[in-house]
């Protein structure tokens, strides 16, 4: 019964969206859809897609870690570290990804003679997303009741163990929802590597669009390709949300 209602709701929602986009499409003045030319490029595009997956997952792990470091730096009493984190975050928050990508590779990477675009791109993306992630941690940790900290202290937990065993398991459910969005941003953000001329998904689809002039089809393929990564990832996060929620 409940399952049926859920299924019905899902189908109804899907229909509403489909009707909406169908209506929009009928109003479009262009030509008919034509996916054929993409066939020849499928392997080319597919390899770019794999690159995107690789980069985004590495960057994602890095961002989770860098976010933690930044959070800890911001909390410390050692004020140089504190302000390093604050300045880093302010720069990241204020700078467009385009600029960050170009500065990171063509200026910073160049100065230190790092030539691997994948490496520079992954680190840059990790640093970029990490700044946002650190604020997610911060928000969640603020919500832990003072009692829990005090009890951990009383029973002899070190600061690290308190975070690891007491705080983290309690905040994970409030961290995961915003993190899902951040993960999606990371995956799409991996397109920043296209400014470095890396052959990832975004760049390659755009290459093909340029060759074939099939913009509409290209955008559809681009979106589907990203959805194919983001949807499973978000499903995974939602699953973890339920699994790791101690309240259930």
């Amino acid at each position: 019964m409940k399952n049926m209602r859920k299924t019905f709701g899902f189908v109804a929602a899907l229909v509403i969206y489909s009707v909406f986009f169908y209506y929009v499409m009928t109003k479009d003045i262009g030509r008919a859809w034509n996916f054929e030319p993409f066939g020849a490029y499928s392997f080319f595009i597919f390899r770019g897609w794999l690159t995107t997956i690789y980069i985004s997952f590495m960057a994602l792990l890095l961002a989770l870690f860098i976010g933690l470091i930044l959070y800890l730096m911001e909390q410390t009493n050692f004020s140089v570290l504190h302000y390093l984190a604050v300045i880093h975050k302010n720069i990241i928050f204020g700078t467009p990804l385009l600029v960050i990508a170009i500065v990171a590779y063509y200026y910073i990477g160049n100065a230190f003679e790092i030539r691997s675009k994948i490496l520079v791109g992954t680190i840059t993306l990790g640093l970029y997303i990490g700044a946002y992630v650190s604020d997610i941690y911060k928000g969640a940790i603020e919500s832990i009741h003072i009692n829990q900290w005090q009890t951990a202290k009383m029973f002899g937990f070190t600061k690290f163990k308190t975070y690891r065993h007491i705080v983290f398991p309690q905040v994970i459910i409030s961290i995961l929802p915003p993190l899902a969005g951040q993960f999606a941003l990371t995956i799409k953000g991996s397109a920043l590597l296209s400014f470095m001329g890396t052959s990832e998904y975004y760049n390659r689809v755009n290459n093909v669009i340029a060759n074939t002039y099939l913009t509409r089809e290209g955008f559809l393929i681009m979106t589907l390709g990203y959805l194919l990564i983001t949807i499973p990832l978000i499903k995974l996060v939602r699953y973890l949300e339920v699994r790791l929620n101690y309240k259930n």
Binding site: N147, Q148, Q150, T151, A152, M154, F155, G156, K161
Partner: protein, 240 residues
Amino acid sequence: MKLKIDNLVKKYDNKVILNELSMDIQDVQVLALIGASGSGKSTLLRLIAGLETFESGDIAINDDWMSREDIRDYRKKVGFVFQDHNLFSHLSIFENISLILEKVHGQKRTAFTSEILSLLTYFGLEEHKDKLPHQISGGQSQRASIARALAIKPEIILLDEPTSSLDPVLTWEVLYAIKKLVDEKKDVILVTHEIGFVKHVADYVIFLDEGQVIEQGRDILSNPKTEALQAFLGKVLSFA
């Protein structure tokens, strides 16, 4: 236990809570702190546990003056039952105990499992061992908090209102558990409103009022000298 406190001053938001409080206690096993609500009992207990900083003064337990450096080792020897229980909200009752043994005291799961279970059984919690703190009754969570404090086999155990949510039967059980601790040569500092309970269990009583020691001794309950304590006790006796 020996407990020596010199001119302890504690403020919250510039309001004095403990006002140059001093005491010098020797050869006491169960020390009870009594006093009106808000008189500073919990605050004093937290300071003795090294849980909070204070403005000035000194605290020594068994001639060991409390200092920043070894405070963590000191705390490991202390069991604490918080007034509002403070169970870790994401852990089951069992895990509330096992986590501490495993991560802080470095014990092996195989070694402590049966011990925890028998402790939980003693406090009538065996069927609730996998529940989370918000799924158990007030008295159950109080018992879990006591069991947790006992599980680390503390040398000294501090209890803040350990029987406040317990029915008479269970109050007896806790009393009995504390007596067993005494037999095992462990020291106890106890904050409670249950004067009957204090009479049974404490061998030294301190009566606090407004952050100061008003009266103290081994038999101040049967032989109160100050008017404040007489009034305080007067209300109790007229009760039962």
